[in-house]
């Protein structure tokens, strides 16, 4: 099994990196870009076959460690 975790800054948090990338895209001619949010992506290789147990355990890890709920949101997918 593999877990894929996407971590993004909360909308309320200033994201100067996203804004800077957005400005650069505009300079390249991408005038239809309404917003950019720069986050991070983690792939976690898992042993075992119990997807639900893995999801629960990683959900807790996402909440306590892999993301900071004060400033970030996350999406967790088990494949």
């Amino acid at each position: 099994m593999k877990a894929k975790i996407i971590i993004t800054p909360k909308r309320a948090v200033l994201d100067p990196q996203g804004k800077t990338v957005q400005n650069a895209l505009a300079q390249m001619g991408h005038t239809n870009v309404a917003g950019v949010h720069v986050g991070k992506y983690l792939e976690i290789e898992l042993t075992g076959t119990d997807r639900e147990a893995a999801r629960q355990a990683l959900d807790e890890a996402c909440h306590r460690f892999l993301s900071n709920p004060v400033i970030e949101d996350y999406q967790l997918v088990i494949e």
Binding site: P9, A12, L14, P16, F65, V70
Partner: protein
């Protein structure tokens, strides 16, 4: 008084903190992050640096160090803990202080002297700062923009937990004097019980005139004053 100065892999202001405490005529021990005891410390300094290479998020990995459990216990008994720069980030990640520190608004690493207004003058970390005194203290960080949600900010204000705000040389809070985009221009806060504080500026780098300012001494003097006032109670 005796301080414990924590040392994580890639702490780099630990020796500065030790030196500043020596300049003030007091003693300290460096405490390795794998240690489970703080020794006979009267107060704890979580110093600046780039603990664990800032991997994942600043301070995110350091908070799991064994020594942090000892800090948690020390703080739960009312012990004074101050986190400076990366130390502030670690204390926020550990949940010992509310909020978080995010990337500077400018995306630049800012390394310069800033001015601080003491917003709450009667805390264990500020009680010796002369009234109205604007502190000149350096910053050196890339991720120092303080963030907390509106409900947390309201609580910080209602409980008077905002200890220092960025200001100009005259002590006025302006957008221009906010070096990193911190909400409300917050430079440092304390917990509700007022025994744990964190700030992005480096008071330990401003304890001698040769360094351009000795204003940082006031923060440590406040802690020392608080500890001295507690000492008789401790003996009894």
């Amino acid at each position: 008084m005796h301080f414990a100065v924590l040392q994580f892999p890639a702490s780099n202001c630990d020796q500065d903190a030790v030196h500043a405490i020596r300049v003030l005529g007091h003693t300290s021990d460096l405490v390795w992050h794998k240690d489970t005891s703080l020794g006979a410390a009267d107060a704890v300094i979580v110093p600046g640096g780039f603990s664990y290479g800032d991997y994942l998020r600043t301070g995110a990995i350091a908070r799991f160090s064994p020594v942090m459990q000892a800090v948690r216990e020390f703080a739960s008994q009312g012990g004074l803990v101050i986190g400076i720069c990366n130390g502030f980030q670690i204390l926020c990640e550990a949940g010992l202080l509310p909020g978080a520190l995010v990337r500077n608004r400018s995306l630049q690493f800012r390394c310069e002297h800033v001015f601080l207004k003491t917003t709450t003058p009667d805390s264990p970390f500020t009680n010796q700062i002369p009234v109205g005194k604007v502190l000149k203290v350096p910053i050196a960080h890339g991720e120092g923009a303080y963030f907390a949600d509106p409900a947390t900010l309201e609580r910080l204000q209602a409980n008077r937990q905002i200890l220092w705000n960025y200001c100009d040389a005259a002590g006025t809070l302006t957008e221009r004097s906010n070096p990193n985009g911190s909400v409300l221009g917050i430079a440092g806060i304390c917990n509700e019980q007022r025994n744990i504080a964190g700030l992005m500026p480096h008071p330990e780098r401003a304890c001698e005139p040769i360094l351009g300012s000795d204003d940082g001494q006031w923060i440590f003097r406040s802690m020392l004053h608080t500890l001295a006032a507690r000492a008789p109670a401790k003996a009894a």
